[in-house]
């Protein structure tokens, strides 16, 4: 059972996420959108979207960076005070994001809400899975203390074993049910990624920072002239 959940399933989720994600990007670029509904409802969006996005971004990045650089992370966690500060910050961010997510769910479900007109089944599934994922994450932070530390010795080696194609789940097999649920839904989120609005995550338009303000595109220029060149001979 564990093998299915912690070895087969992660691979399936990752392969689909990457494969379908790329296929969708090239084949159906039109469907890549944040699908914002701000124009329909703005007040609740503020209280939901802002905490959720900022909270989840920081948390996600921490998870990712700690997994990529475990030694740096363990150096950071040295010392009781540091550990305490980081643990509390993590918990606060988790609660912050969770609060936002709950507001977003209420916003979608509220009777007579215009947002319902744009809500798909997939949105419902995504919100539910995210709720389980964030809820279990906050739960782990509260009931299985010092996650910052044991994460590095359990989940991270498991990630690396998956990444190096020598899957070894021994480090996570013995963990309690709550962290296991958290890991599992984590991969469910990855699985949902290419099939839902979550794709907008990889579209974060960072290239905007170094692009010139104006964009000019020519339908057609004689061969050999770049679109931005000033001297065009005919």
């Amino acid at each position: 059972m564990d093998t299915l959940f912690f070895i087969a399933f992660p691979y399936v989720a990752l392969i689909l996420a990457i494969g379908v994600g790329i296929y969708r990007y090239f084949r159906h670029p039109y469907t890549y959108s944040s699908l914002s509904s701000e124009i329909l409802e703005k007040r609740k969006l503020f209280w939901g979207s802002v905490p959720f996005h900022y909270g989840i971004t920081v948390i996600l990045l921490t998870h990712l960076l700690a997994a990529l650089f475990p030694s740096a992370a363990s150096w950071l966690l040295r010392g009781q005070i540091r550990r305490l500060v980081l643990e509390l910050t993590g918990m606060a961010l988790g609660l912050y994001a969770l609060f936002g997510l709950i507001v977003l769910i209420i916003r979608r479900l509220a009777p007579k809400s215009l947002v319902q007109a744009t809500t798909s089944y997939m949105d419902g599934i995504v919100l539910f899975v995210l709720l389980v994922q964030l809820g279990s994450g906050v739960g782990v932070a509260i009931f299985n203390r010092w996650g910052g530390l044991w994460y590095l010795d359990t989940a991270v080696p498991w990630f690396w074993s998956l990444a190096s194609l020598h899957p070894d789940m021994s480090t996570v097999a013995a963990l309690p049910a709550l962290p296991k649920l958290h890991f599992l839904t984590g991969f469910v989120v990855i699985l949902l990624f290419p099939f839902s609005r979550l794709v907008h995550l990889v579209m974060f338009p960072i290239q905007y920072l170094w692009r010139p303000y104006q964009v000019v595109i020519w339908n057609r220029r004689p061969a050999g002239t770049s679109p931005y060149s000033k001297e065009v001979s005919r």
């Binding site: 914002s36 703005k42 609005r197 338009p205 964009v215 057609r220 005919r234």
Partner: protein, 496 residues
């Protein structure tokens, strides 16, 4: 010089009758789909009024357009970084409340009603949810000054007037209004393009039409806030931004845009102008009082051999240059200096120009209840019913001289033609009026012809795009074989 061509427009406001035919032609053609019900790529506003969306001109609220900071152009919306930070929630985005909740009627109520003593009524329903709703606002809720204590009284441009002038304007017999048709200005320095984080909005090199790539747009909504004219709209159904496309598919077939073609008052003029693209930034960063003149300077004389040579070497086709020579826009904007941009102080260099309306300014009555042109001419602008300052706030960033100069021309043409045809004004007076307006009799004939007599193909000089024919007739068909052309290869459906 880096010469480019731009399809540009002039609206002659004295001729607009406020019939909204233009808006409906556009709606029927382009925005008759789920998610676009509330979009009016072309709309006609009553001025004074708050416009659409409500108070869009108030940039303290919406932060649209550009501002000068230490002589450098900067988006009023904020730095690029701050926009990326605001992706999850855009504080400057108007919501449907600022537009209106789109509605239709359940017409089946009329047919299905049981037999009874009362006349059945079709209930209004929401076009978003399909449920019953109460209509609280609609497009043109303030048409012809209706609800003026709420709408017209809050027009941001009235700030330019004194308390007394404002009060006088709202007195019953003094009321005055005119129509302002608006659409995307296809600006030379578009702030919608600059605000788009994913680079989905672009200006077409050939004709300057500003378009949103539906495939690249990811629904970050910054363009809606960035455009000070609020002429980019967000499609709540597809999750993409949409805006006026200047009917480029029609123009590529040699037809004028639908709004222009259908215009009942024949107020709309279209044609290409040549301009120097190297001067965009410098022009847009001029001090406010010079903006109108600087924009005029940027537009080049298509008859000047030097300009023609440079245009050809910049890759502009000779046919386009010829089309620019026939352009009514060049005449109105540059040669006669009669057409002004709307709110140049937003620094987007809008390429839709307006000839300000004469009537609301001059129509003051004398004791006998009529007005005399001859005596009025030299004093009417000072005693105008709607103060010139109001028009200056709309069309020249507050520079009254610029607007007065246009009015002198409009009056000069009228007086001269009246002296000619009716004969109740002496030719000396008419000549004096022309001198004040800096017009020659030939100018007057030209203005008169283009304003009153010109046919459709003289008012709307569609440049020869005809892309299919160009490929087939002029160029080797193999040359562009790799190109896919426009349009979708699949039905554009909202993503999951």
């Amino acid at each position: 010089m880096n010469i480019r061509s731009q399809v540009s427009m002039v609206f002659h406001l004295d001729k607009c009758i406020g019939c909204h035919t233009c808006s409906l032609a556009c709606k029927n053609l382009w925005t008759d789909r789920p998610g676009t019900e509330y979009m009016w790529w072309n709309n006609v506003e009553t001025k004074p009024g708050t416009g659409y969306p409500t108070l869009y001109e108030d940039q303290e609220q919406y932060d649209g357009g550009w501002v000068l900071e230490d002589g450098k152009l900067r988006l009023k919306l904020g730095s690029k970084k701050s926009q990326l930070i605001n992706l999850a929630y855009n504080p400057r985005l108007p919501t449907l409340d600022d537009y209106y909740h789109p509605f239709t009627y359940r017409y089946s109520d009329l047919i299905d009603a049981p037999l009874g003593d009362d006349q059945p009524v079709a209930r209004p329903i929401s076009m978003i949810t399909g449920e019953d709703m109460d209509i609280e606002a609609g497009p043109n809720w303030d048409d012809d000054l209706s609800g003026s204590p709420i709408y017209a009284a809050n027009d941001p441009n009235l700030k330019a007037l004194t308390e007394d002038e404002r009060r006088r304007f709202f007195e019953l017999q003094q009321l005055v209004y005119f129509y302002l048709p608006r659409m995307c200005n296809h600006c030379l320095n578009p702030s919608c393009v600059a605000a788009c984080p994913s680079g989905a909005i672009y200006k077409r090199g050939e004709d300057g039409i500003v378009l949103v790539s539906q495939e690249k747009c990811q629904g970050w909504r910054m363009c809606v806030s960035g455009c000070p004219y609020k002429k980019v709209y967000f499609n709540w159904n597809s999750g993409k931004a949409e805006k006026c496309i200047l009917c480029y598919p029609r123009m590529e077939m040699g037809e004028a845009p639908a709004c222009m073609h259908s215009c009942v008052g024949k107020i709309r003029y279209l044609g290409v102008v040549l301009y120097d693209a190297d001067r965009i930034e410098e022009t847009a960063s001029r001090p406010e009082s010079e903006l109108v003149e600087a924009q005029r300077e940027m537009i080049l004389d298509p008859f000047d051999p030097e300009v023609i040579r440079n245009a050809l070497s910049s890759g502009i086709d000779r046919k386009i240059v010829e089309s620019a020579q026939k352009s009514p826009i060049y005449k109105y904007v540059k040669q006669w200096r009669m057409a002004l941009p709307l709110h140049p102080e937003w620094r987007t260099l809008p390429m839709l120009f307006y000839i300000p309306p004469l009537l609301p300014v001059t129509a003051t009555l004398n004791q006998q209840g009529c007005y005399e042109m001859e005596t009025d001419f030299f004093s009417s602008l000072e005693s105008a019913r709607l103060p010139i300052r109001y028009m200056a706030s709309l069309f020249s960033a507050g520079d009254e001289e610029e607007v007065i100069a246009v009015y002198r021309k409009l009056l000069g043409v009228r007086i001269y033609k009246r002296a000619q045809t009716v004969g109740d004004i002496s030719m000396e007076t008419a000549q004096r009026a022309l001198d004040e307006a800096h017009l020659t009799p030939e100018d007057v004939e030209g203005i008169y012809y283009l304003t009153a007599l010109a046919g459709a193909d003289e008012r709307m000089v569609v440049p020869p795009f005809l892309r299919e024919q160009v490929v087939e007739l002029g160029i080797d068909t193999q040359a562009f074989q790799e190109e896919r052309g426009a349009g979708f290869l699949y039905w554009p459906k909202r993503g999951l």
